[in-house]
């Protein structure tokens, strides 16, 4: 994906908004927070578009801004009670056109379990997991994004996978859905 701030903001949004928004939802756990965080991140990135790196350094920069915006939402701007109440836990109907209603229900249930399992992790583990296994950043890029050493990122990813392995609800659903271990 070469679309970036060097092109128009509209083209950049068309190419990157959906992935950035899903990332923010997984990080924040709240659609409203994610929407504000992504908007804030794109506006900041657009404001500093002249200083954005080109090539492979661009995505870590953008996701670093998103992570910072999510941290800001998580820690300051939104009361915890509101976040807990509005957390994404409804996935009904999202897979209705996949393999029939039953499969869609199973997919939604699995998605809810994954989201719940993610949010059992602390921020320091959840952020590397999402950036590594959903966004697809390398450990070095994640290190740039969260301002930690690559070794720290590696150990955190290892710890996060170990904890997710121990999540009983996630393990049962994954087996039932046919996701092999």
């Amino acid at each position: 994906m070469n679309t970036g701030p060097s092109e128009s903001l509209e083209a950049w949004l068309d190419a990157s908004y959906a992935r950035a928004y899903r990332t923010a939802v997984l990080l924040c756990g709240n659609p409203d927070d994610a929407r504000e965080a992504v908007q804030d991140a794109f506006l900041r990135a657009w404001r500093f578009r002249d200083s954005l790196p080109d090539g492979s350094g661009r995505d870590p920069w953008l996701y670093r801004v998103i992570v910072n915006a999510c941290y800001s939402k998580l820690r300051k701007e939104v009361p915890r009670r509101v976040r807990e109440r509005d957390r994404v836990d409804e996935h009904d109907g999202l897979y209705a056109t996949a393999d029939g209603p039953e499969a869609a229900a199973m997919q939604s249930e699995l998605a809810g379990a994954v989201t719940a399992a993610l949010h059992t992790l602390p921020d320091t583990l959840r952020v590397p997991v999402v950036l590594r296994y959903w966004v697809g950043l390398s450990e070095r890029e994640i290190a740039l994004a969260i301002r930690r050493r690559p070794g720290t990122v590696k150990s955190r990813l290892h710890e996060a996978r170990r904890r997710l392995m121990d999540d009983p609800a996630l393990a049962g659903l994954a087996t039932e859905m046919g996701v092999a271990r």
Binding site: R22, P31, T115
Partner: protein, 392 residues
């Protein structure tokens, strides 16, 4: 080996979770609107809230600063008010003993002050009693214009012209080094300017030059002269250490002397008549002796009357001028010997300082460079990311 979830499995699970997230259709459009709003001078909701919060914090900080400044100003004002009150108390204490003198008829109020002019002046003259009183207090600017109280008409007898008041005063001036002759000349000039003259003048040279000047000025210009001298001393960066004025109503004494003289003159005239009718030598000698005695009394009374007239017409002001004494160094109070925990703490601090000095002395500039390098690393590692994050 610690069991952990497979990476590919985790990717699939996260893809499931992310795929379940419904992306708002108007998300990009909202960002575009916000960007357009911002570029056109507006601000999106988040930034408006942030700006509002910034303004609130700025206002709170400004209010806190104002409160602190107000408290500080109030504290300083209270402190200076206390000082003024203390100064007033000192003035009252110094003036109090003189009040008894005034009650006794001397009518003298003395105050010492460090500023070269007068703040308050009060003069009262009571008709038949010898009760003139002057209170002088020092301040930079006179609070009220100098007043020369016109002699009031004594109740019962006499006229305003017959009222006699003798005013005297003395001032002790301290002037900068080398200013004694100039100040003495200024005092003389002031006196002559109001129609007065120099009664006496003396000066002392050497290491501590000083001058004493006694000037006589018309009674009506006496108060003005005292104030002018004080202002003049202020202009030469000196100060009035003390100033004393004394006003005494001598009308009764003057009238008494006149009456005695008139009586003596009458007696002498009668004796002159008796002398013309004396027939023998013994009577003539006796009456002549008596006339001489009365004439001598008349001469004495006339001299006293002339003296009172002169004193009442021209007031006397004694001015002592000296240079400022060098300020003696204030001896510092000897520190109390330390003991117990204080001693241990002091020794620990001294030991630490000595150790640091030892390390610095042996490591030279390299130690300073190392410390600076560590501080730079600390900044780059911990502080700069925070600043950078705030900027982003």
């Amino acid at each position: 080996m610690i069991a952990e979830i497979d990476e590919q499995e985790l990717e699939r699970l996260l893809a499931v979770a992310a795929g379940a997230v419904e992306v708002p259709d108007d998300g990009p459009a909202a960002v575009l609107r916000a960007a357009h709003h911002r570029s056109s001078g507006g601000a999106d909701v988040v930034h408006a809230r942030r700006d509002r919060r910034f303004v609130q914090r700025a206002l709170a900080a400004a209010a806190a600063i104002l409160v602190l400044v107000g408290v500080a100003v109030a504290a300083v004002g209270h402190g200076s008010g206390t000082s003024s009150k203390a100064a007033n108390d000192r003035f009252v204490q110094k003036a109090a003993p003189d009040a008894s003198a005034a009650a006794a008829g001397a009518g003298t109020h003395i105050s010492e002050f460090g500023k070269p002019s007068f703040r308050n002046e009060e003069k009262s003259v009571s008709g038949s009693s010898a009760g003139g009183a002057t209170v002088v207090n020092g301040d930079a600017v006179p609070a009220s214009p100098p007043t020369t109280v016109a002699p009031t008409t004594p109740s019962g007898s006499g006229t305003a012209d017959s009222t006699k008041i003798v005013a005297t005063g003395s001032s002790v001036l301290e002037v900068p080094k080398g200013s004694v002759p100039k100040t003495a000349a200024g005092v003389v000039s002031i006196a002559r300017g109001v129609g007065g003259y120099v009664a006496s003048q003396s000066s002392t040279g050497g290491a501590s030059p000083a001058a004493d000047v006694t000037v006589r000025v018309p009674y009506q210009a006496f108060d003005e002269t005292v104030l002018t001298v004080a202002k003049f001393v202020g202009n030469v960066h000196g100060k009035v250490l003390s100033s004393t004025t004394n006003s005494q109503n001598v009308t009764a004494q003057y009238t008494d002397l006149q009456a005695k003289r008139d009586a003596a003159v009458g007696e002498r005239n009668a004796l002159d008549i008796v002398l013309t009718h004396a027939t023998n030598v013994a009577d003539i000698l006796s009456v002549n002796d008596r006339i001489e005695s009365v004439q001598s009394e008349i001469d004495q009374l006339t001299g006293q009357i002339r003296l009172l007239n002169d004193q009442a017409s021209y007031s006397s002001l004694d001015v002592s001028i000296s240079e400022k004494a060098p300020v003696a160094p204030t001896p510092h109070a000897a520190p109390k010997p330390r003991a117990g925990f204080s001693l241990a703490w002091h020794q620990a601090g001294a030991g630490f300082a000595h150790s640091a000095e030892w390390i610095l002395a042996r490591s030279g500039k390299g130690f300073v460079a190392i410390v600076a390098f560590i501080a730079l690393l600390f900044f780059l590692r911990y502080l700069y990311p925070v600043v950078r994050r705030g900027l982003l």
